[in-house]
Point group: C2
Chain length 297, copies 2
């Protein structure tokens, strides 16, 4: 515990999402120990009052609650299980909240290892992007025990708005996979609809406008549809990360014995986009796979 009676929070992974999330925790009065693969964001947050941890183990040794926010399953695996990793420094009774988007299987493996150390674990992936991270309006999908969720809820409330315990360990990642399936498929559907309009000589901006008033309405049609009209593919959320997420969807579907034919097409489209060099672009760049692309692009 820190002097103000709040738990000390270790924060590992200070990328596009992690850095503003760590800032929101500091604003909410928490003492932070931070670590990141590259040194830049650590120094930046240290200037703002965070303590720099020398390793994931070092962060764990000093923290009551450890939050990880990393790109992919292998990153979480390394930070948790490797030499100088979280488990080596884990304090009995501490809680690990992994907010990365990883496979449900890896989430369950991490939670099991934490419990073996006498700790508690939640998987708590998010939706809402950089904007949601900065504005603390993330949706947070949580898997794990109710009492652990209740204990750290004030921490999650400093990061997001729509915070739901969806089930047991791994359930947060299942919900996130469902989320990414819907988002990825909807982006491709909007891209196809606008390309169809444009190729047929109809102004896609007018089509977007009229579709927003009916059953075709979605946040994707609104935000990503506008990006497509503007030809603005600065991320946002990178296509290569959505490809990673669609692979998690496909793997989870296979393990669960569920057909996801639209999800499979979205996986194919993101694969095509990344293989053609679009991996660093916003995921709305799926529109560029279809011709014609607006002359305003």
């Amino acid at each position: 515990m820190s002097a103000n009676g709040k738990p000390v929070i270790g924060f590992i992974g200070l990328g596009i999402m992690g850095k503003p999330m760590a800032r929101n925790l500091m604003r909410a009065g928490y003492s932070l120990v931070v670590h990141n693969r590259s040194r830049g964001p650590v120094d930046e947050l240290a200037k703002e009052g965070a303590k720099a941890g020398s390793s994931s183990k070092d962060v764990a040794q000093q923290s009551d609650v450890i939050i990880t926010m990393l790109p992919d399953s292998p990153d979480v695996e390394a930070v948790v299980f490797d030499k100088d990793g979280v488990l080596e420094g884990f304090k009995p009774g501490a809680t690990l909240i992994d907010m990365s988007t990883i496979t449900p299987a890896m989430a369950r493996r991490v939670a099991g290892a934490v419990r073996d150390k006498g700790g508690k674990a939640l998987d708590a992936p998010v939706s809402g992007g950089e904007k949601g991270a900065i504005e603390a309006t993330l949706s947070i999908m949580v898997g794990g025990p109710q009492d652990v969720f209740d204990a750290v809820l004030p921490i999650l409330q400093a990061l997001g708005k729509n915070i739901v315990l969806v089930g047991e360990g791994g359930a947060g990642q299942i919900a996130k996979a469902a989320n990414q399936l819907v988002v990825g498929v909807t982006i491709e559907a909007v891209a196809e609809a606008l390309a169809l309009a444009e190729a047929s000589g109809v102004d896609p901006a007018k089509v977007r406008a009229v579709l927003l008033g009916g059953f075709a309405q979605s946040k994707i049609l609104d935000a990503h549809g506008q990006r497509m009209l503007d030809g603005n593919f600065v991320p946002g959320f990178k296509a290569k990360l959505h490809l990673k997420d669609m692979r998690i969807v496909a793997q989870t579907a296979k393990e669960s014995g569920v057909d996801v034919p639209e999800g499979q097409v979205a996986l194919d489209r993101f694969t095509k986009l990344v293989e053609s060099g679009g991996g660093e672009k916003d995921h709305s760049a799926l529109r560029t796979l279809l011709s014609p692309v607006s002359s305003r692009a």
Copy 2:
């Protein structure tokens, strides 16, 4: 013109959508001449003050503006071009507004034939379903000349809320095809996401709730997602009609040289649903093609 100075409106096609639309026009003070293949709805509206037309030709002979609201392209073709059809009774200077969902090609053919008779034509398909028709909150996607649109806008405003002239003749049908593509694909995406959650042991109701707070939000996730949770597949909008619309999407995409891979999957799924006997169910019944289906169903 009728005694109150408003144009006399002929209304052909008094189905689930057409009947409440005709009623809204009568409420707005228009004199109506109505016709329908089956006699029931004609008698019903005649009791409420409409005049019964004996044929499409008869309706056209008495009307300044003729509205058609029919299931499919062949129905519109028959009502317009056949013996005793609209064209035989068409008054020079009259306007035909076809609000059916048909192929853009048929819409252009109808408009051309009307112009040859010295008339004006708009294609004006709608989105919003029976509820939107009853409550006069339909989205209306219009194709045709600006001056014709302006002249009949008060009539359209008695039927809907989000009324957009999207382009030249046929453009309304292109926009509607784009709409049905997005709606059909999104329904399947939501079905896959909820099936994935359920098969993985996570409560799909909780997944729907948390997804509604993020980028996966859509009217489909909200309304059709709830239908899937309830196992309530009473239409609404029948799967067989959405199959018809997905065929229009595929045909329009082919003619325009645009790939619509997600649209193609949605076409396949609706085909499967209709072939397995689900054509009369609500289009959200795509969920039933995936197991497991909620035990609440």
